[in-house]
Symmetry: C2
Subunit: 277 residues, 2 copies
């Protein structure tokens, strides 16, 4: 007899129920902002999707096919968040990947409702008590194994906007849904992502901005004490753009500081530009 499946007690499509995304998280994803008929930073998103697929030995969907999916789903939406998931097709029971072919989901969510104060006065970050698990083969990849982030998102204090997560040696790597930058002596420092963490496209874009602006920028091992000693700090992702930090643990900043403000303007991210003059 062949494979059969029940979902909530009802017979369901066995192909869908065998998805390796469901069983193992064997796939990658992108979360992006849609605005006025276009996916913001589409070229960067697609390039990162292709590279993340390669890390899992997965053939990525054609870029035009994804662009067509987005256009279909976004008809009638002026602003929205889209999520693209590419997962390995089912091919029998067991961990062994028998397929390189991916299947794709594209989802459209209601537009985010940004708070002006997050951009104009900054947000509050705290250190998560949940550490990041380290798998060097997956470092930097935006894959579907996200329980670290789910665990870190439980039990936040009400006044906290983002939690920062550390690796085993105590170095800060990223926020639960963002990359992190510190500003020190007029230069940028962002954590190394060689053991864990996601190399997000907004992080990439900010490093490009820094190069254009002749701002020194480097990747480094960044401990909480280094962040406490920073002149400015901010977190970023493709949906929110850049959020300056106004507080981390006992440290407060007047946010955004001058370097962060200049980067916010240079970034060209539409939600950021809505709020910085």
């Amino acid at each position: 007899m062949s494979v059969e499946a029940l979902h909530e007690g009802r017979l369901c499509d066995a192909g869908t129920a065998q998805s390796r995304a469901l069983h193992y998280g064997d796939g990658v994803f992108r979360t992006l902002l849609w605005r006025d008929g276009a996916a913001i930073d589409w070229a960067l998103h697609h390039d990162k999707l292709v590279r993340d697929c390669a890390a899992l030995s997965l053939d990525p969907p054609d870029g035009q096919v994804l662009a067509d999916d987005l256009a279909l789903l976004m008809r009638g939406r002026s602003q929205a968040v889209a999520k693209i998931i590419v997962a390995r097709r089912a091919g029998g029971r067991g961990y062994q990947a028998r397929e390189r072919a991916g299947e794709r989901w594209v989802l459209a969510y209601p537009a985010p409702a940004p708070r002006a104060a997050d951009y104009r006065e900054g947000v509050v970050a705290a250190l998560s008590t949940v550490g990041l698990s380290e798998q060097p083969l997956l470092a930097g990849i935006k894959h579907l194994n996200r329980l670290d982030q789910v665990l870190a998102s439980r039990d936040w204090a009400a006044d906290v906007d983002e939690v920062l997560m550390c690796r085993g040696d105590g170095a800060v790597v990223c926020g639960s849904r963002s990359n992190l930058f510190a500003v020190r002596d007029g230069g940028l420092i962002t954590p190394m992502l060689d053991r864990c963490g996601v190399a997000g496209i907004m992080r990439h874009r900010i490093l490009d901005c820094a190069a254009r602006m002749n701002l020194p920028a480097r990747e480094a091992v960044l401990h909480p004490a280094d962040l406490l000693a920073a002149d400015e700090a901010f977190v970023c992702n493709a949906v929110i753009g850049i959020w300056p930090l106004r507080q981390f643990a006992a440290r407060t900043w007047r946010a955004p500081g001058p370097v962060t403000r200049a980067l916010m303007r240079e970034s060209g991210h539409p939600l950021v530009l809505d709020h910085v003059g």
Copy 2:
């Protein structure tokens, strides 16, 4: 506008497409053997499912509901493998878990085709080049984040039956789909699972057998050198039962050794009993 979703370019049910199993691997699972009208070790499986759900703050489905699902799906199958997945219900975008309620999938797969030699002469294990990521909050839990095991299952040599995986300090923790035991001076040693690995129900059952047989048994940090020095070794899981090791790296054993053979009989696992006299 509400959430909409495409799967492979076609509009699909947005509820299914938002499953937190798909997006984050936010759930747990069980793989079990069905034989002659019953799930082998159902009580142990259900107990472990309830405990694994609790680790993710997830309400488990009622045991009778799951038993009814299995009975419906297994009608007409004398032997099969069943998989139960319990994942958190979707509740908005983002990592934060807003729901404790789980949704369930139950799948039936064709019966395994055991090879008599695996039980009577043993199997070959090799050390995986892929390490286990460590998340103490998830240690022992059979959750849906399984990329470590997917990566470890690539590129096996053709004569290898199972790969053993190590944690960061080099200690051996488990097989890619099994737990590991070494026999030394007439007693059992199985790796500690306080940092990573799954505490499988066959491991549990073997420790119970050892107690009944007055065999000393302990959990310990087990390095590859300790395994090479063992008198006997075996791997186990709920589907295969017990596979004695006849080779690990350069070490060979005459398998099964006397302690392993006694445990195979005492275990009462039907596939094992099919092959040991």
